[in-house]
Each structure stands twice: as structure tokens, then as C-alpha cells.
């Protein structure tokens, strides 16, 4: 088979699946965002309204607050996911008895369906009955009103999502550690290098090519993570003050049935992410993006 033939054989199936299932709905959504599709127009079919929905977005007073909260949410989550995940992967990569057992248990947060885990965390943050406050009480601390204050609800969602997300980074890091040739550590040992030096000059640089795609994608997923905030804060409570961009959009679409508006908001979120990623791409080491 020619080289061209091999390339076609390897690439075309993936391109077809992605083009059909992701690209087409995306284009369709662009069209929706220029209509007034909503509860009152769904029967007779929507009208074309051009960029009217987009103009309304910028009049949205809370837009900047949601954006800021989304950025804080994403930053804190990703840092904790990576630090905890890589740290545990390094620990589990040592040889010790029972490590397969620990490994199996540490993947549990990823193994449970996300919405069940999120609901059970919501129960644990309950003011009166939640185990977190009961535990705090048992060491003599006052109960924390987790779900009824803006800061508390956001913190509760953060804790939940950090718990949910670290096993993924741990698994990726465990795989990445295998791509580091053992000879490099042996050479460092001969030169008398300490463990800190080995971590900084061998492990972290060589882990990068495998970790970076996970980190870039993890950032995007966290930015767009609907489930956790939606379920832990019970749809943005208290009083819609714990929304990030995607939960607000979800509410607009599926609670208020403002489809055209939500479609335009979806496009805006996409553009914000695109610009942020592009800025990072321009600055960062290109290897992070597989170039």
C-alpha cells in the first residue's frame, strides 16, 4: 500500500465520525443562534433575527460575573487535579506491597457516574444532616452553611469536582511515567543526583508530552463542566449566584426554553474558550499542542 493510501486509511474514519456527529450539530447551532426559537415560537417555526440574540448577550449584567467565576473555577480545579494526580501517580509508581490495591481504590471517583457522585456530595454538604458538618462538629467546630451562601456553595462544588477529577490525571500520569526510559534514572544515579533533581530534570520534562494534552483538554472540560455546579448547588442556588457560564446557559435553554438565546450564548462561550486557548497556544511550548 502506498504512503498516501495508508494516510487515507488511517485518517478518514475518524474524520467522518467527528465531522458528522460534532461539526454538523455545531453548524446547525450557529443557525439556531440567529433565530428567535423559544417556547412561543416552537410551534410555528422560528424567525430569522440576525445578530439580535448576540446583542442581547452583551446587555446581560451578570455575564462578566459568570465569566470571572468560570475562570476561577477552571484555574483552581485544574491545578488541584494535576498536582494531586501527578503526586499520586509518582507514589503509585514506586514498588511496594499492595500498590495494585491502592491503585484500584483511588480510581473510584472516576468509576462512579458523575451525577450520582455529585448528588451524594450535595447530601454530605447539607447543613444539618451532612457528614461534613457532623465531622466538623465532632472536632468542636461550628457548622458551615455550605449550600446557602454564595462562597460556601461554590466551595462545595469545587471540592466535589476536585475529588471527581484527580483520578483521570493520575491515570494519564501513570501511563506517561512509562514513556521515561529507566536508563535516564540509572545515569542520574551514577552521577549522584538526588531525588528532587531527578524529579525536576527528568520526570517532569519527560512527563510533559503525555500530560499536556490532558491538561489542555482538562481545562476545556472544566470550563464547560455543567453537571457538578448544576447538581451540587441545585441549579445555581442560592438565587442564581453560583452559576458559571455553562450552567447559566443550560438554565436559559432548558428551564426558560430560550433556545435561540441559549444557542447564541453557547457560541459566545465557544469563542471565549477559543480565544483563551489560542492565546495560550501562541505563547506556550508548541509541543503541548502536538505540533
Amino acid at each position: 500500500m502506498s504512503r498516501r493510501g495508508a494516510i487515507a486509511l488511517f485518517l478518514i474514519p475518524s474524520a467522518l465520525v467527528m465531522g458528522l456527529i460534532v461539526l454538523w450539530p455545531f453548524v446547525y447551532n450557529l443557525w439556531l443562534s440567529m433565530t428567535n426559537l423559544g417556547l412561543y415560537t416552537i410551534k410555528d417555526g422560528p424567525d430569522f433575527v440576525g445578530f439580535a440574540q448576540y446583542l442581547r448577550l452583551f446587555g446581560e449584567p451578570d455575564l462578566y460575573e459568570y465569566l470571572l467565576r468560570t475562570l476561577i473555577w477552571t484555574g483552581i480545579n485544574v491545578v488541584f487535579h494535576v498536582v494531586i494526580g501527578v503526586g499520586l501517580a509518582l507514589a503509585l509508581n514506586q514498588k511496594f506491597t499492595g500498590r495494585a490495591f491502592y491503585r484500584g481504590l483511588l480510581i473510584l471517583p472516576w468509576a462512579l457516574p458523575q451525577y450520582i457522585a455529585a448528588l451524594s456530595w450535595r447530601g454530605m454538604f447539607n447543613f444539618e444532616y451532612g457528614q461534613i458538618n457532623l465531622l466538623l462538629g465532632s472536632i468542636g467546630m461550628d457548622p458551615v452553611p455550605w449550600l446557602s451562601t454564595e462562597v460556601g456553595a461554590f466551595a462545595a462544588a469545587l471540592i466535589t469536582n476536585i475529588w471527581l477529577g484527580f483520578p483521570f490525571m493520575m491515570v494519564v500520569a501513570l501511563g506517561g511515567l512509562q514513556s521515561i526510559p529507566k536508563e535516564m534514572y540509572e545515569a542520574a544515579d551514577i552521577d549522584g543526583a538526588g531525588s528532587w533533581w531527578r524529579l525536576r530534570h527528568i520526570t517532569i520534562p519527560l512527563l510533559r508530552p503525555v500530560m499536556m494534552p490532558a491538561i489542555v483538554l482538562g481545562t476545556i472540560w472544566t470550563f464547560n463542566n455543567l453537571n457538578v455546579i448544576w447538581l451540587v448547588t441545585n441549579h445555581g442556588e442560592p438565587a442564581d449566584s453560583s452559576h458559571i457560564l455553562v450552567t447559566y446557559v443550560y438554565k436559559a435553554a432548558f428551564v426558560y426554553y430560550r433556545y435561540g438565546y441559549a444557542a447564541a450564548f453557547g457560541v459566545l462561550i465557544f469563542l471565549i474558550l477559543l480565544v483563551l486557548t489560542w492565546m495560550n497556544y501562541r505563547q506556550a511550548d508548541k509541543s503541548a499542542y502536538g505540533a
Binding site: L105, M212, G266
Partner: protein
Amino acid sequence: MSPTLKKVLWHAAMIVVVLITMYPVLQIFSISLRPGDQLYSTSLDLIPEGASLESFRTILFEKPFLRWLGNSLLVALSTAILGVTLASTAAYALSRFRLPGQKGILFAILTTQMFPATMLLLPMYLLMRNLGLVNSLVGVILAYTATALPFCIWTMKGYYDTIPRSLEEAAMIDGMTEVGAFWRVTLPLSAPALVITFLFSFLAGWSEFIVARTLIVSRELNTLPLGLESLATTFQTEWANYAAGSLLVAVPVVALFLGLSKFLVEGLTHGGVKG
């Protein structure tokens, strides 16, 4: 520090980490043991008063749990096999050949992840309806594969990039074709990345809820997350059954991970690569 003391401290630290990780899971376990469907209790005891395993019996034998399990296994395994096949080949082409617009392709793959997923639901539903794939597990499998592919392609490409091209060139000098070198040389060396990709696409299909809710109508086609949800939407949420079902959902995943983790952490063929 003596080696024994070091060992003890090491295990103590690991146990603390595992306990913190496990605590919410144990909480779900505790709910599953409670009689009379209480969600809340002011007790910190893990084993509640009047504890029973009744909910596990109910969910396994009185609910169509085994059918949900079968559907979910079919969906998740198909997604995983399809995902690994498509990603391992596409990523190989992206890693080994200089293609026109190479950087553009990789960035475009990334951008497909940036669109809020819920906004794709309505268009995706209409598309599947036109393809006759609404209320069919094939439609769900295709949707999950498409959502899992970008991560899988990126991970595979990142891993291929760490394997020297010279190994394949040597195989081709010995008479293998490009495809043969990929199959016999590169793929076996990429076991850890294949495991990550498999696990990721399996889980994308295993616990997803919203897409399945949108595309599946018949009760016979319910996957596990849909089935569990049906316990919560009857007149009274059956909390104990719900909790027992959630734990049973995690069991196959942990088993799969334990089975695969040998390939993930031992890098068994890596001796052949001298970086």
C-alpha cells in the same frame, strides 16, 4: 529512619489518602444499607441501625438491573473498541507523516471540545432522527465515540511522539510495510497509551447520562445511568436501591482498571526503546 519505619509511614500516608478518597463512596454504601429509604441521618456511623443488604437483592433481582448492565456493557465496550481503533490509527498518521495543515488539524480537533455539550443536544437529536438512529444503541455509541475521540487522538499522538521513528524504519528495511510496522512495532510499544484511551472511551460510554436521555426512548434500551434515574423519578425516590445500584455500577470499572493496570504501569515492552 529505619526501613521498617519508613514502610509503615508510607502505608499510613497511602491509607489516609485512600480513606479521604473513599469516604463519599462509603457514604453511598451506608445509604444503601439503611432501612426505610432515609436519605438523611444525623449519625456518623457507617453501618446504620437495622442495616440490611436488602437493597442489593432488590436491585439485582427485582429491577431490570441486569438488562441495564447488558446495554451499558455493549455501549461502553463498543465505544472503547471503536475509540481505540480510530484514535490509534488517526494519531499514527498525525505523528508520523508531515501532512498539509498538520497544526491546523490538531487544533481543529481540539476546538470540537470547546463547544458546550448541552448546546449540541438538539442538533444532534435532529441529526440522529434523520439517520434513523434515535432510540438505537448504535446512535448512542456513535455519539460517545465522537466525544471521546479528540482526547484519545491527542493522547495517542503524544505517546507515539516519544517512540523513535527509527524503530519502524528498521522494520521496514527488514521488509515490513508501513502498516505492518505500525501493527507489529509501534502499537505493542504503546500499551500504556492504549490502556488510557480504552479506559477513557469506555467510561465516556459507561456513565454518560444526558446524551443517552436525549436519544433513548424505550425502556428496554435503558443504560445503567438511565435505569438508575428511573428509580429516582417514581413517586418516591428509592434511595437505598439507588445507592446500591450506584455502587454496583462502579464494580465493573474497578475490575476493568485492575485488569488493565498491569499494562498501564509496567510498560512491559519498553525495554526495546533506548531513548
